[in-house]
Symmetry: C2
């Protein structure tokens, strides 16, 4: 994997990871297979402005910016839920690095 | 955006886009805010082996490979649903290119 350098996007993920350490079991159930799609939509709404700012998503092309934002949020939420279902096999910091690395540089 | 070259990952997305053109309204409702998380889980299970093969996700590190696979599937499903909610403002082919570009090379 590529390691992301420390930056504001990583700080945001770290903050989220900290919340997740406390509330992760609730969040994962609500986001998971037997969860609540309305909760998922609320999480998305909260994450949206943060992702746009932290990943510096420009609005030169509104459609592409919106789809890019969705891509980032969906990827992050899905990966975090899966990580939790796996019983958190890596640290929150490493998870954050992984997600940010994929998001910034791709999975290849 | 970066344009992905034509390859097997793109063919897979194209095939998915073709299915989506026919069944998109059903799929989007089932995957969306008022949808069915069990359907989402089923879609994920179907997509998993395809994504692993098409994006050539190696299993040298099992945890990372599983999280990477989840990242790709969640990102793609979320973006496709959003695109549908936006009334498909770009073609399925362009959507496929966009998602594959983000996945392979990142959003930056």
């Amino acid at each position: 994997m590529r390691h992301a350098t420390t930056d504001s996007a990583e700080e945001t993920m770290d903050a989220f990871a900290a919340v997740y350490t406390t509330y992760g079991s609730y969040i994962s159930v609500l986001l998971g297979e037997h969860g609540d799609p309305v909760f998922r939509a609320k999480m998305r709404k909260i994450a949206e402005p943060v992702v746009i700012k932290r990943f510096n998503i420009s609005s030169e092309n509104e459609t592409e910016a919106a789809l890019k934002t969705e891509y980032v949020i969906s990827a992050a939420l899905g990966t975090i839920v899966r990580w939790f279902e796996f019983d958190m096999p890596i640290s929150t910091r490493k998870l954050a690095e992984l997600i940010i690395g994929f998001t910034k540089h791709g999975i290849l």
